[in-house]
Structure formats: C-alpha cells, structure tokens
C-alpha cells in the first residue's frame, strides 16, 4: 500500500480528516501497541475513536485506492457516531464493533444478519462479505465460508472483492479434509472462479492480490497431482510479476515485487532467476535486511552454501525484531545442508533464545514451539 496506494493524489482530500499513524510491528518500541491492538495479518488498517481508543473499524489486508476511500468514509462515520440507519445498518454496525474487538465468531453472525437484510444495491456489501469471510476463516468455519463465497461471487464478479472472495473460497476448499465428499466440487468451482478473476484484465485489483491468487492456483494444481499444470501456472505467475516490476517507475516500486517473484521462481524450481533482482535491490537499499535475507533463501535452494551463509550474515547484521528469528532458521538449514550439524544446532538455540526474549506483543508461542520442535529433531550426533 505504501508503494501504490498511500501516494495516490486522490487521497489528498482525506489528509486533514484523520491523524495518520503507521506502526512497524517488527520494532520493539511498538510491542506495547501490538499488545493493546493485536492483529491477525499484515497489513491491518484500523480507525480508532481517540476518545476511548475503541477500534471503530478494522480492515485486514491491503486495499485499492477505491476500497481505501470507502474504508475511510465508513471509519469516519463510525467514530462520529449517530444512530445507525435502517435495513442492514444496525446489524452491520454491531458486526463492525465486534470485528473491531476481534470477537470474530459473534461478528460473523452479525455480518450474516446484515447481509440477509441488505438491498441488492447496498454499497457496503463487498466490505461486509470480505470481513465476514475473514471472521469465518479465523473461527475455522470453512463450511459457512464456502457457502457465503459461492453466494457472493456472482454479485462481486469483476471487482477486487470478487477476486479476493474467489481466492478465499479456493484456500478454504483446499483446506477441507481429503475425505470430505464435497471437496472436489468446491475446489473445482473456486479454481475456475479464480482463473476467471485472474484472466479479467479489466478487474482493477492490487497486483499483490493477483499475485497471491496465482499462489493459490499453483497450490490447487499441486493438490490435483498435476505437476506440469503447477509449473505452467507458476510460469504465468512469474511472467505477470516480471511485467509489473518492469512497469515500476522507481526502485522502491520494483522491489515491492521481490518477495512474490522469489516465491514464483521457487515454485518453478528456478531460484537462480531471483538472484540478479535481489542483488539489484541490495545495492539500491543497502540498509534493508530483506534483499540479503531473500538471497539466503535462493542460494540455499541452489545449495550454494557459502553464498547463502554470507547473505544471511549481511541480513542478520541489519535485521531486528521477530524477522531476525526467521533468518536464523534459514541459516540453520544452510549450515545443516553444508554438513555442519553443530553449527545448525547452535543457530537454532540462538533462534530459540531470541524468540523467548521477545516482549509480549511480539512474542509468538507457535514460533517458539516450532523452533523447539526443529531443535528436538536435530540430535547432537547424527
């Protein structure tokens, strides 16, 4: 959003209507803010009522300029208050309050009440559906998600929300147990819908949303044991991202696609294609830990152990916060690949110690458990 949304000239009129704050969750100084306002995915956009610090509106994920304009208008109205209107509005206001509080199960019920009462041209329909689907995903209610996504798709087709809903439906269908009798139909339905959304050149979705959907489509082909189809989809994904990066007018805008491109190249089995791009980003952004951290991953896949280790050295010298632990995990894999079991264990122990030392708000128990598990699976003697 920083590269493609917040700089849009049309947002200038909003500048004086809010106080604007950005919070980098990797910084230890922001740990208390994270403790107070936990999030479930990056980025998350919040509109707070400054009187009581209530979250009046929560939006999970990125947004196009048009979507952000609506989020801002709704957020402002939610803070200014006033009696909710008629029809779906009282239920929607209740859902928004619960979603803001992260009471996702109750919020999902309220959003469904709002949708039942909504007229066909209700302008909040797309946002209500997207927030409802996220609330259901967080509540692990895949069955309801699939029903809502199927119902919503005809109405949202051709919009950024339609692309997002197709992807959510596909992820949910793929998450169903293999024994579920409805799984093949659901996967097929949402894979087709996702393909149609990707192919719709008029659909003004954010490039990273399209990119994520390509990732889901690769997963669907792999799920179908269609290795050639997965590779072909990954090739389309890489070509799309290379096209977007070529259009970028600044190194910043180009580097936004680095992580996505690396993922596509890894799926293609061609990590070497990421190296020139990441080396360029490392030159352009010498203080950023991301390019060398990603080079570490690419060199690891290529089994170029010395270059991989050197890249993680450079990344660790600049990294801070929880991401540092991820880089240490990569480094441990590299050492193990090189045959240095003792070094791999020592690096895992360092990662565990760093994970435990994170302050509340940044500390992640699942991450600690996964590092412990990795360490436990790596005995001192082979």
């Amino acid at each position: 959003m920083r590269a493609f949304v917040f700089g849009d000239e049309s947002l200038k009129e909003q500048a004086g209507r809010f106080v604007w704050l950005s919070i980098d969750t990797e910084k230890e100084t922001n740990a208390k803010v994270q403790e107070r306002f936990p999030i479930d995915a990056w980025p998350t956009l919040l509109v707070l009522d400054p009187k009581d610090e209530r979250v009046a509106l929560r939006w999970v994920g990125g947004a196009t300029v048009t979507q952000l304009q609506r989020i801002l208008e709704d957020g402002r109205l939610a803070v200014l208050g006033g009696a909710p209107g008629e029809g779906p509005e009282p239920a929607f206001a209740r859902a928004e309050r619960l979603y803001g509080e992260r009471s996702f199960g109750e919020a999902a019920k309220a959003y469904q009440d709002a949708l039942k009462a909504a007229p066909p041209d209700w302008p909040r329909y797309p946002r209500a559906v997207e927030s409802l689907l996220f609330a259901l995903a967080t509540s692990h209610d895949c069955t309801t998600s699939l029903r809502i996504a199927r119902e919503a798709l005809p109405r949202l087709r051709g919009t950024p929300s339609g692309l997002s809903v197709a992807g959510t439906g596909l992820e949910c269908a793929l998450d169903l147990p293999k024994a579920d009798a409805g799984r093949p139909d659901s996967v097929g339905f949402f894979e087709k819908a996702s393909r149609e959304a990707i192919a719709d050149a008029k659909l003004l979705a954010a490039a990273d949303d399209r990119s994520s959907l390509y990732g889901d489509l690769v997963r669907a082909r792999k799920d179908a044991q269609d290795g050639a189809g997965a590779k072909a989809t990954a090739a389309e994904w890489a070509a799309f991202l290379e096209g977007e990066a070529a259009k970028a007018k600044t190194p910043e805008a180009r580097s936004v696609f680095d992580a996505h491109r690396l993922s596509a190249y890894l799926e293609l089995g061609e990590p070497q294609r990421a190296i020139p791009m990441l080396e360029a980003s490392e030159r352009d952004f010498p203080r950023d830990y991301n390019p060398p951290a990603r080079l570490g991953l690419a060199f690891r896949e290529l089994k170029r152990w010395d270059e991989a280790l050197a890249a993680t050295d450079r990344a660790l010298a600049k990294a801070y916060g929880p991401r540092r632990i991820r880089i240490l995990l990569t480094r441990s894999d590299i050492l193990l690949g090189r045959g240095d079991r003792a070094g791999a264990r020592a690096t895992l122990a360092e990662a565990l110690s760093a994970a435990r030392a994170l302050p509340p708000g940044q500390r992640s128990e699942p991450l600690i458990a996964s590092v412990q598990k990795k360490l436990g699976a790596l005995p001192q003697q082979p």
Binding site: S212, K222, S263, R294
Partner: protein
C-alpha cells in the same frame, strides 16, 4: 518445509514509502494525543517491512 509453506512465509511487501498522507511513524502516544487535540479519528496502518 514445502515450497508453498515457504512462499506463505516470504510473501510480503517491502519498503517504499512516498505518501501524500502525513503519517506519524511509530509513535502511538503522539498520534493519539494529536487525534484528541484535533478531535479527529486516528487511522493506523499496522505493517511490517518484510
């Protein structure tokens, strides 16, 4: 770790801040105090640089 899981870990957006909006960086107390003083809603972008 399979490639899809790894892709989930590394899929994210990187640096590039050029905003037409006057963002306060990483200072919640200041943002809240300013919002109270100006009687405006506080918009927060919660993000990570990876």
């Amino acid at each position: 770790m399979d490639l899809t899981a790894m892709a989930v870990l590394i899929l994210a957006l990187a640096p590039a801040p050029k905003s037409t909006l006057p963002f306060i960086e990483d200072d919640y107390s200041r943002g809240l105090a300013e919002a109270r003083a100006r009687n405006l809603p506080l918009f927060i972008e919660v993000w990570a640089p990876w």
